[in-house]
Symmetry: C2
Subunit: 325 residues, 2 copies
């Protein structure tokens, strides 16, 4: 049990809204394909925005909702799944965008789509230990530059965006349980092989493009998740000492069909399973904090409520956290 | 004050040793240039090794030194400055190399060259809180794929390698003080602009190669560090309640000339300032834990000794930690 309060949340999206019909054009798909297969009717693609500029915007909203000034932040954590540039780390770029004082340290925590949950777990322990007072956790991902338009299964799922939360010790709030598993034998099911030291961008040629783009084996991934996530979820609830009837589950917004199948496997009614993927697509690491923000803004999540952040990530990891909000 | 024991350390290098003379050939430099300017007489470049294979090797040595089995590890953290591939996170790839059980979570902590210190800080808090028993922190970086052979100032400094530490609660050991500052207004002084969403590898062409390679403004970086690190170091010692006469300083092994200038500015005698950069080059994030490992193996750092891990990173960040080893 770690005492921590999510003092405020925020979200930022690029200006350009992209419809299902436009994605069908980009990917040379027949009309209706996107809604039938990915269920994402709308997503946003960055044009002039950068991940760090969107992250900074989301961070400022989170501070505003928390009633805090930028000067009250004493740690900045970037919790992303994509990179803005190969060096330095993403938190430094956000720190610069926000114009934070040098006394505020900035670093990244990365577990791909679960980065926000991992950062929330670690930094809650740091807040509880008195190491920091107010930590900004910012997830900002641009999926669109790395999409493979020849792979309809994946390119129709994602959107760009950012979300943030500011945490601290507060009058209420605690983490009741937290867990993560890494099924690394399946790490090649969801990857971008190029872009690092294994296949450096130097080796890029147009005929090798696919190696530098997102690739996944959707059916194999879903099979692994279907086999492992339900019992993981049960153990998490048990560890927290709560029942599925008491919680709102906020899942990583992976894709409409997989979310719907997952909801049934977890035996949750629609009103206890937060699903907004149709409006934003899969925002990678920003997906979980964006959904958290939207649940708070819509009034579906209130102080004192029990909430489960639950998700899967490339790697392949399962992660979950039961919070008293 | 966080109780934590560094139970064991390890290090791994690629098989291929590269002399100063060979670097002079690669970079078309006159004989003697490398020793005069970078002072790195030897470094290792990966051929068949990957960052994760070197990281796994270093991790196994750390476990062996700690007298622990792989099955006793309950968390794996990759603390690197470079990427092996764009997705998934580096810890998943190391987890797979090590063949760890799915119950062991794997994630990254990244503050570029300071990643190891940041991870040690955060995970020590997690160990102290009882969240984990034995955490493997592994730093593995391949610098060589991203070096710019037309930039002698930077390409002569780096080497490839990995280092690891396993931490837990133990009979002794504690962190007496820990601090980090991020001077993000200087983030462009040391960067690789391409490779992420800002300049995706898709946009690579041979004439844009420089944007995908390491670039730094050495003199401006050194000026910033010279202005800020001495007082940062003094505050750190003060926070820990120790004097410079009591500690062994293990600095990030950036480059021979900058280390020597730094030692003088910190007013430390050579025997209290650990410097092995001539033998390995700058190993990026692996530099700090590799130096820690070499200090332990050589007998210069013993149980109960006071040690300061101190460094700078792209971003630009300063970081330091006073440990009772």
């Amino acid at each position: 049990m770690t005492p921590v309060t999510i003092l405020g949340t925020g979200m930022a999206l690029p200006a350009r809204e992209v419809s299902a019909a436009e994605v069908e054009q980009l990917a040379s798909l027949p009309a209706g394909w996107v809604m039938r297969h990915s269920g994402v009717r709308r997503r946003f693609f960055a044009e002039h925005e950068t991940a760090s500029s969107l992250g900074a915007k989301a961070a400022l909203q989170a501070l505003q909702r928390a009633g805090l000034e930028l000067g009250q932040v004493d740690c900045l954590v970037a919790a992303c799944g994509t990179y803005e540039q190969a060096l330095p780390c993403r938190a430094s770029l956000m720190h610069r965008q926000l114009g934070l004082s040098p006394v505020v340290p900035a670093f990244d925590v990365d577990s791909t789509c679960l980065s926000f949950a991992t950062a929330l777990d670690l930094l809650s322990l740091a807040v509880a230990a008195g190491r920091y007072q107010h930590v900004l956790i910012v997830s900002a991902d641009l999926a669109s530059p790395g999409l493979n338009w020849r792979d309809p299964e994946s390119c129709t799922l994602f959107g760009d965006g950012a979300a943030a939360a500011v945490i601290g010790s507060g009058p209420s709030g605690r983490i009741l349980a937290c867990a993560m598993e890494t099924h690394s034998q399946a790490s090649a099911l969801c990857e971008i092989r190029g872009g690092g030291s294994r296949i450096h961008p130097r080796h890029y040629t147009p005929d090798r493009e696919g190696e530098f783009l997102f690739a996944m084996d959707g059916p194999a991934l879903f099979k692994l998740v279907a086999q492992t996530l339900p019992s993981f979820f049960d153990r998490l609830l048990q560890q927290a000492g709560v029942s599925r009837q008491q919680v709102l589950v906020i899942p990583h917004q992976a894709s409409q069909p997989s979310l719907e199948k997952l909801r049934r496997r977890l035996a949750l009614p629609p009103e206890r399973f937060f699903n907004v993927v149709a409006d934003y697509g899969n925002l990678i690491a920003a997906s979980l904090p964006a959904a958290l923000h939207l649940a708070v803004e819509s009034g579906q999540l209130k102080r004192g409520d029990l909430v489960v952040l639950l998700g899967t990530s490339a790697g392949v990891s399962l992660g979950g956290m039961v919070l008293e909000f």
